[in-house]
Amino acid sequence: MTTPLAMRTFHFKIYRYDPDKDAKPYMQDISVVCDPMDKKLLDAMVKLKAKDDSLSFRRSCREGVCGSDAMNINGKNGLACLTDLAAFPEGKPIVLRPLPGLPVVRDLIVDMTQFFKQYLSIKPYLVNDDNLPERERLQSPEDREELNGLYECIMCACCTTACPSFWWNPDKFVGPAGLLAAYRFIADTRDQATNERLDNLEDPYRLFRCHTIMNCVDVCPKGLNPTKAIGKIKEMLVQRAV
Protein backbone atom coordinates (compact mmCIF):
# COMPACT_ATOMS: atom_id res chain seq x y z
CA MET A 1 0.00 0.00 0.00
CA THR A 2 1.05 3.58 -0.54
CA THR A 3 2.16 5.47 2.51
CA PRO A 4 -1.01 6.76 4.14
CA LEU A 5 -1.56 10.41 3.56
CA ALA A 6 -2.60 12.32 6.61
CA MET A 7 -5.50 14.78 6.50
CA ARG A 8 -4.26 17.54 4.29
CA THR A 9 -5.72 20.71 2.88
CA PHE A 10 -5.19 21.23 -0.80
CA HIS A 11 -5.38 24.68 -2.35
CA PHE A 12 -6.47 25.01 -5.91
CA LYS A 13 -6.53 27.65 -8.60
CA ILE A 14 -9.10 26.57 -11.14
CA TYR A 15 -10.00 27.99 -14.52
CA ARG A 16 -13.68 28.86 -14.39
CA TYR A 17 -15.94 29.93 -17.20
CA ASP A 18 -19.69 29.61 -17.52
CA PRO A 19 -20.93 31.41 -20.64
CA ASP A 20 -24.32 31.68 -18.95
CA LYS A 21 -22.95 34.19 -16.46
CA ASP A 22 -19.28 34.94 -17.07
CA ALA A 23 -18.14 37.42 -19.70
CA LYS A 24 -14.73 35.82 -19.68
CA PRO A 25 -12.79 33.10 -17.86
CA TYR A 26 -11.29 33.71 -14.45
CA MET A 27 -9.21 31.74 -11.93
CA GLN A 28 -11.03 30.59 -8.81
CA ASP A 29 -9.23 30.02 -5.53
CA ILE A 30 -10.71 27.13 -3.61
CA SER A 31 -9.43 24.59 -1.14
CA VAL A 32 -10.53 21.23 0.19
CA VAL A 33 -9.56 18.93 3.03
CA CYS A 34 -8.65 15.45 1.90
CA ASP A 35 -8.36 12.31 3.97
CA PRO A 36 -6.04 9.33 3.51
CA MET A 37 -8.57 7.63 1.23
CA ASP A 38 -8.24 10.43 -1.31
CA LYS A 39 -5.28 9.28 -3.33
CA LYS A 40 -5.73 10.89 -6.70
CA LEU A 41 -6.38 14.40 -7.94
CA LEU A 42 -9.81 13.27 -9.12
CA ASP A 43 -10.76 12.26 -5.56
CA ALA A 44 -10.03 15.80 -4.43
CA MET A 45 -11.97 17.23 -7.36
CA VAL A 46 -15.03 15.15 -6.47
CA LYS A 47 -14.81 16.67 -3.00
CA LEU A 48 -14.45 20.12 -4.51
CA LYS A 49 -17.59 19.54 -6.53
CA ALA A 50 -19.44 18.50 -3.38
CA LYS A 51 -18.46 21.88 -2.00
CA ASP A 52 -19.20 23.92 -5.12
CA ASP A 53 -21.52 22.00 -7.42
CA SER A 54 -21.01 24.44 -10.27
CA LEU A 55 -17.45 23.23 -10.82
CA SER A 56 -17.68 21.32 -14.09
CA PHE A 57 -15.41 18.63 -15.43
CA ARG A 58 -15.74 15.30 -17.18
CA ARG A 59 -14.92 12.06 -15.41
CA SER A 60 -15.98 8.47 -15.58
CA CYS A 61 -13.93 5.34 -14.98
CA ARG A 62 -11.50 6.93 -12.48
CA GLU A 63 -8.87 4.35 -13.43
CA GLY A 64 -7.31 5.77 -16.57
CA VAL A 65 -9.05 3.82 -19.33
CA CYS A 66 -11.97 5.98 -20.43
CA GLY A 67 -9.99 9.15 -21.12
CA SER A 68 -12.60 11.58 -19.77
CA ASP A 69 -10.74 13.61 -17.18
CA ALA A 70 -7.84 14.97 -19.20
CA MET A 71 -6.89 18.50 -18.20
CA ASN A 72 -3.96 20.83 -17.82
CA ILE A 73 -2.52 20.23 -14.36
CA ASN A 74 0.09 22.71 -13.17
CA GLY A 75 0.82 23.51 -16.79
CA LYS A 76 1.07 19.95 -18.03
CA ASN A 77 -1.64 17.78 -19.59
CA GLY A 78 -2.65 14.67 -17.70
CA LEU A 79 -5.50 12.59 -16.32
CA ALA A 80 -6.83 13.69 -12.95
CA CYS A 81 -7.55 10.08 -11.99
CA LEU A 82 -3.94 9.01 -12.47
CA THR A 83 -2.33 12.03 -10.81
CA ASP A 84 -1.15 11.35 -7.27
CA LEU A 85 -2.25 13.92 -4.70
CA ALA A 86 0.69 13.09 -2.48
CA ALA A 87 3.11 14.20 -5.18
CA PHE A 88 1.91 17.81 -5.15
CA PRO A 89 4.33 19.99 -3.23
CA GLU A 90 3.05 21.59 -0.04
CA GLY A 91 2.43 25.31 -0.03
CA LYS A 92 1.81 25.75 -3.73
CA PRO A 93 -1.71 25.77 -5.15
CA ILE A 94 -2.61 23.13 -7.70
CA VAL A 95 -3.47 24.95 -10.92
CA LEU A 96 -6.10 23.32 -13.10
CA ARG A 97 -6.93 24.54 -16.56
CA PRO A 98 -8.76 23.01 -19.53
CA LEU A 99 -6.80 21.24 -22.26
CA PRO A 100 -4.94 23.86 -24.29
CA GLY A 101 -6.02 24.99 -27.71
CA LEU A 102 -9.58 23.65 -27.74
CA PRO A 103 -12.63 25.89 -27.30
CA VAL A 104 -13.84 25.88 -23.70
CA VAL A 105 -17.48 24.90 -23.27
CA ARG A 106 -17.41 25.45 -19.55
CA ASP A 107 -14.78 25.36 -16.80
CA LEU A 108 -12.56 22.34 -17.50
CA ILE A 109 -14.81 20.97 -20.23
CA VAL A 110 -13.51 21.59 -23.74
CA ASP A 111 -15.22 21.14 -27.07
CA MET A 112 -13.45 18.13 -28.55
CA THR A 113 -15.14 18.27 -31.96
CA GLN A 114 -11.94 19.20 -33.77
CA PHE A 115 -10.01 16.42 -32.06
CA PHE A 116 -12.55 13.75 -33.00
CA LYS A 117 -12.89 15.15 -36.51
CA GLN A 118 -9.21 14.55 -37.06
CA TYR A 119 -9.53 11.05 -35.62
CA LEU A 120 -12.42 10.31 -38.00
CA SER A 121 -10.48 11.77 -40.92
CA ILE A 122 -8.01 8.88 -40.87
CA LYS A 123 -10.80 6.35 -41.43
CA PRO A 124 -10.39 4.62 -38.09
CA TYR A 125 -11.70 1.21 -38.99
CA LEU A 126 -10.34 -1.95 -40.50
CA VAL A 127 -10.66 -2.14 -44.29
CA ASN A 128 -10.55 -5.60 -45.79
CA ASP A 129 -12.66 -6.56 -48.78
CA ASP A 130 -11.74 -10.23 -48.88
CA ASN A 131 -14.47 -12.76 -48.43
CA LEU A 132 -14.74 -13.34 -44.74
CA PRO A 133 -13.80 -16.77 -43.47
CA GLU A 134 -16.27 -18.57 -41.26
CA ARG A 135 -13.85 -18.39 -38.37
CA GLU A 136 -11.41 -15.72 -37.28
CA ARG A 137 -8.78 -14.58 -39.74
CA LEU A 138 -5.40 -15.90 -38.72
CA GLN A 139 -2.70 -13.52 -37.55
CA SER A 140 0.65 -14.56 -36.17
CA PRO A 141 1.51 -13.46 -32.63
CA GLU A 142 4.39 -11.45 -34.12
CA ASP A 143 2.07 -9.61 -36.51
CA ARG A 144 -0.32 -8.97 -33.66
CA GLU A 145 2.51 -7.59 -31.57
CA GLU A 146 2.93 -4.81 -34.14
CA LEU A 147 -0.29 -3.32 -32.76
CA ASN A 148 1.03 -3.06 -29.21
CA GLY A 149 1.61 0.53 -28.24
CA LEU A 150 -0.96 1.62 -30.85
CA TYR A 151 -4.37 0.16 -30.06
CA GLU A 152 -4.28 1.11 -26.36
CA CYS A 153 -4.98 4.81 -26.99
CA ILE A 154 -7.85 6.08 -24.85
CA MET A 155 -8.43 9.27 -26.88
CA CYS A 156 -8.05 11.56 -23.90
CA ALA A 157 -6.44 14.19 -26.17
CA CYS A 158 -3.60 14.93 -23.74
CA CYS A 159 -1.08 14.46 -26.55
CA THR A 160 -2.81 16.33 -29.33
CA THR A 161 -3.57 19.34 -27.16
CA ALA A 162 0.05 19.45 -26.01
CA CYS A 163 1.25 19.66 -29.59
CA PRO A 164 2.14 23.14 -30.89
CA SER A 165 1.56 21.97 -34.45
CA PHE A 166 -2.03 21.16 -33.50
CA TRP A 167 -2.42 24.50 -31.74
CA TRP A 168 -1.56 26.36 -34.95
CA ASN A 169 -3.36 24.08 -37.40
CA PRO A 170 -6.10 22.16 -35.58
CA ASP A 171 -8.18 22.03 -38.75
CA LYS A 172 -5.43 20.59 -40.92
CA PHE A 173 -2.91 18.69 -38.80
CA VAL A 174 -4.21 15.27 -37.77
CA GLY A 175 -2.35 15.43 -34.48
CA PRO A 176 -0.53 12.71 -32.55
CA ALA A 177 -3.61 10.77 -31.42
CA GLY A 178 -5.08 10.62 -34.91
CA LEU A 179 -1.76 9.66 -36.47
CA LEU A 180 -1.21 6.96 -33.87
CA ALA A 181 -4.62 5.59 -34.82
CA ALA A 182 -3.72 5.85 -38.51
CA TYR A 183 -0.62 3.79 -37.95
CA ARG A 184 -2.60 1.30 -35.84
CA PHE A 185 -4.47 0.38 -39.03
CA ILE A 186 -1.47 0.66 -41.34
CA ALA A 187 0.41 -1.73 -39.05
CA ASP A 188 -2.45 -4.23 -38.92
CA THR A 189 -1.67 -7.09 -41.29
CA ARG A 190 -5.40 -7.59 -41.76
CA ASP A 191 -5.92 -4.11 -43.20
CA GLN A 192 -5.76 -3.66 -46.97
CA ALA A 193 -6.05 0.08 -47.31
CA THR A 194 -2.41 0.94 -46.60
CA ASN A 195 -1.96 2.87 -49.84
CA GLU A 196 -5.12 4.90 -49.42
CA ARG A 197 -4.15 5.62 -45.84
CA LEU A 198 -0.71 6.82 -46.94
CA ASP A 199 -2.28 8.92 -49.71
CA ASN A 200 -4.56 10.45 -47.12
CA LEU A 201 -1.56 11.57 -45.08
CA GLU A 202 0.87 12.63 -47.82
CA ASP A 203 0.31 16.29 -47.35
CA PRO A 204 2.41 19.06 -45.88
CA TYR A 205 -0.19 19.55 -43.16
CA ARG A 206 -1.88 16.25 -42.29
CA LEU A 207 1.25 14.41 -41.25
CA PHE A 208 4.24 16.59 -41.94
CA ARG A 209 3.30 19.30 -39.47
CA CYS A 210 4.86 16.88 -37.01
CA HIS A 211 8.32 18.26 -36.23
CA THR A 212 9.17 15.54 -33.70
CA ILE A 213 8.75 17.96 -30.84
CA MET A 214 7.64 14.95 -28.78
CA ASN A 215 5.48 16.82 -26.29
CA CYS A 216 2.94 14.09 -27.07
CA VAL A 217 5.23 11.35 -25.80
CA ASP A 218 5.98 13.33 -22.70
CA VAL A 219 2.35 13.71 -21.62
CA CYS A 220 0.71 10.43 -22.75
CA PRO A 221 -0.83 8.94 -19.61
CA LYS A 222 -0.72 5.48 -21.16
CA GLY A 223 2.97 5.68 -22.01
CA LEU A 224 2.32 5.46 -25.74
CA ASN A 225 4.65 6.93 -28.33
CA PRO A 226 2.92 8.74 -31.20
CA THR A 227 6.25 10.09 -32.47
CA LYS A 228 7.48 6.57 -33.07
CA ALA A 229 4.31 5.71 -34.99
CA ILE A 230 4.52 8.91 -37.02
CA GLY A 231 8.15 8.14 -37.80
CA LYS A 232 7.13 4.77 -39.17
CA ILE A 233 4.48 6.35 -41.38
CA LYS A 234 7.06 8.83 -42.69
CA GLU A 235 9.41 5.97 -43.41
CA MET A 236 6.71 4.14 -45.37
CA LEU A 237 5.96 7.28 -47.35
CA VAL A 238 9.64 7.68 -48.18
CA GLN A 239 9.93 4.03 -49.17
CA ARG A 240 6.97 4.50 -51.43
CA ALA A 241 8.36 7.69 -52.95
CA VAL A 242 11.92 6.63 -53.75
Binding site: R97, P103, K228
Partner: protein, 134 residues
Protein backbone atom coordinates in the same frame (compact mmCIF):
# COMPACT_ATOMS: atom_id res chain seq x y z
CA UNK B 1 -29.47 27.52 -33.28
CA UNK B 2 -27.77 30.66 -34.49
CA UNK B 3 -27.49 31.89 -30.91
CA UNK B 4 -25.74 28.63 -30.09
CA UNK B 5 -23.39 29.04 -33.03
CA UNK B 6 -22.68 32.55 -31.85
CA UNK B 7 -21.89 31.25 -28.38
CA UNK B 8 -19.70 28.54 -29.87
CA UNK B 9 -17.73 31.05 -31.90
CA UNK B 10 -17.07 33.14 -28.83
CA UNK B 11 -15.76 30.27 -26.78
CA UNK B 12 -12.47 31.12 -25.16
CA UNK B 13 -9.42 28.94 -25.59
CA UNK B 14 -6.75 28.35 -23.03
CA UNK B 15 -3.50 28.77 -24.90
CA UNK B 16 -1.32 30.86 -22.64
CA UNK B 17 2.20 29.81 -23.54
CA UNK B 18 3.57 31.43 -20.39
CA UNK B 19 1.78 28.94 -18.14
CA UNK B 20 1.82 25.80 -20.29
CA UNK B 21 4.76 23.74 -19.10
CA UNK B 22 6.65 22.11 -21.94
CA UNK B 23 9.25 19.39 -21.59
CA UNK B 24 12.82 20.46 -22.30
CA UNK B 25 12.50 18.95 -25.77
CA UNK B 26 9.59 21.29 -26.37
CA UNK B 27 11.71 24.34 -25.61
CA UNK B 28 14.59 22.92 -27.63
CA UNK B 29 12.19 22.56 -30.56
CA UNK B 30 10.97 26.12 -30.24
CA UNK B 31 14.60 27.24 -30.20
CA UNK B 32 15.23 25.18 -33.32
CA UNK B 33 12.62 27.25 -35.10
CA UNK B 34 13.79 30.51 -33.56
CA UNK B 35 17.41 29.83 -34.48
CA UNK B 36 16.43 28.85 -38.00
CA UNK B 37 14.42 32.01 -38.44
CA UNK B 38 17.29 34.06 -37.02
CA UNK B 39 19.78 32.54 -39.39
CA UNK B 40 17.44 33.17 -42.30
CA UNK B 41 17.01 36.81 -41.33
CA UNK B 42 20.73 37.29 -40.92
CA UNK B 43 21.64 35.59 -44.20
CA UNK B 44 22.32 38.92 -45.97
CA UNK B 45 24.79 39.93 -43.27
CA UNK B 46 26.54 36.58 -43.51
CA UNK B 47 26.75 36.65 -47.27
CA UNK B 48 27.95 40.22 -47.18
CA UNK B 49 30.70 39.32 -44.69
CA UNK B 50 31.66 36.37 -46.89
CA UNK B 51 31.80 38.70 -49.85
CA UNK B 52 34.03 41.16 -48.00
CA UNK B 53 36.28 38.45 -46.61
CA UNK B 54 36.92 37.04 -50.07
CA UNK B 55 37.30 40.37 -51.76
CA UNK B 56 40.59 41.36 -53.35
CA UNK B 57 39.94 45.05 -52.80
CA UNK B 58 41.87 46.36 -49.77
CA UNK B 59 39.06 48.74 -48.77
CA UNK B 60 36.71 45.83 -48.53
CA UNK B 61 39.09 43.93 -46.34
CA UNK B 62 39.53 46.96 -44.13
CA UNK B 63 35.80 47.27 -43.89
CA UNK B 64 35.58 43.57 -42.97
CA UNK B 65 38.15 44.03 -40.27
CA UNK B 66 36.47 47.06 -38.79
CA UNK B 67 33.02 45.55 -38.86
CA UNK B 68 34.03 42.31 -37.21
CA UNK B 69 35.91 44.21 -34.54
CA UNK B 70 32.73 46.07 -33.55
CA UNK B 71 31.43 44.76 -30.24
CA UNK B 72 27.82 44.99 -31.32
CA UNK B 73 28.55 43.01 -34.45
CA UNK B 74 30.42 40.52 -32.31
CA UNK B 75 27.36 40.13 -30.15
CA UNK B 76 25.24 39.54 -33.23
CA UNK B 77 27.75 37.04 -34.48
CA UNK B 78 27.75 35.33 -31.09
CA UNK B 79 23.99 35.04 -31.38
CA UNK B 80 24.36 33.58 -34.82
CA UNK B 81 26.99 31.14 -33.60
CA UNK B 82 24.58 29.93 -30.96
CA UNK B 83 21.76 29.82 -33.49
CA UNK B 84 23.86 27.79 -35.86
CA UNK B 85 25.11 25.41 -33.18
CA UNK B 86 21.67 24.88 -31.71
CA UNK B 87 20.11 24.41 -35.13
CA UNK B 88 22.91 22.01 -36.01
CA UNK B 89 22.72 19.89 -32.84
CA UNK B 90 18.94 19.89 -32.74
CA UNK B 91 18.92 19.01 -36.44
CA UNK B 92 21.11 16.01 -35.76
CA UNK B 93 18.71 14.97 -33.01
CA UNK B 94 15.77 15.26 -35.37
CA UNK B 95 17.59 13.26 -38.04
CA UNK B 96 18.32 10.52 -35.53
CA UNK B 97 14.71 10.44 -34.39
CA UNK B 98 13.69 10.27 -38.05
CA UNK B 99 15.67 7.07 -38.37
CA UNK B 100 14.07 5.82 -35.14
CA UNK B 101 17.09 6.37 -32.92
CA UNK B 102 16.38 7.84 -29.49
CA UNK B 103 12.64 7.96 -29.96
CA UNK B 104 11.76 6.64 -26.50
CA UNK B 105 10.55 9.13 -23.93
CA UNK B 106 13.59 8.96 -21.66
CA UNK B 107 16.03 9.03 -24.55
CA UNK B 108 14.26 12.03 -26.03
CA UNK B 109 14.52 13.85 -22.73
CA UNK B 110 18.22 13.07 -22.44
CA UNK B 111 18.99 14.00 -26.02
CA UNK B 112 17.21 17.33 -25.63
CA UNK B 113 19.36 17.99 -22.59
CA UNK B 114 22.44 16.97 -24.57
CA UNK B 115 21.53 19.38 -27.37
CA UNK B 116 21.20 22.24 -24.93
CA UNK B 117 24.42 21.46 -23.09
CA UNK B 118 26.53 20.87 -26.20
CA UNK B 119 25.27 23.86 -28.15
CA UNK B 120 25.58 26.25 -25.23
CA UNK B 121 29.03 25.09 -24.19
CA UNK B 122 30.29 25.22 -27.78
CA UNK B 123 28.78 28.70 -28.05
CA UNK B 124 30.69 29.66 -24.94
CA UNK B 125 33.90 28.26 -26.38
CA UNK B 126 33.47 30.05 -29.70
CA UNK B 127 32.34 33.17 -27.91
CA UNK B 128 35.50 33.30 -25.80
CA UNK B 129 37.51 32.93 -28.99
CA UNK B 130 35.43 35.59 -30.72
CA UNK B 131 36.06 38.07 -27.95
CA UNK B 132 39.71 37.17 -27.91
CA UNK B 133 39.93 35.61 -24.48
CA UNK B 134 42.19 32.94 -25.94
Amino acid sequence: MSALNEQKKQRPKFLDLTVIRLPLAGYASILHRVSGAGLFLMLPLLIWLLDLSLSSTPEHLALFESITRNVLVKLVLLGLIWAFLHHFCMGLRILLIDVHVGVEKQQARSSAMAVMVVSLSLTLAFGLKLFGVY
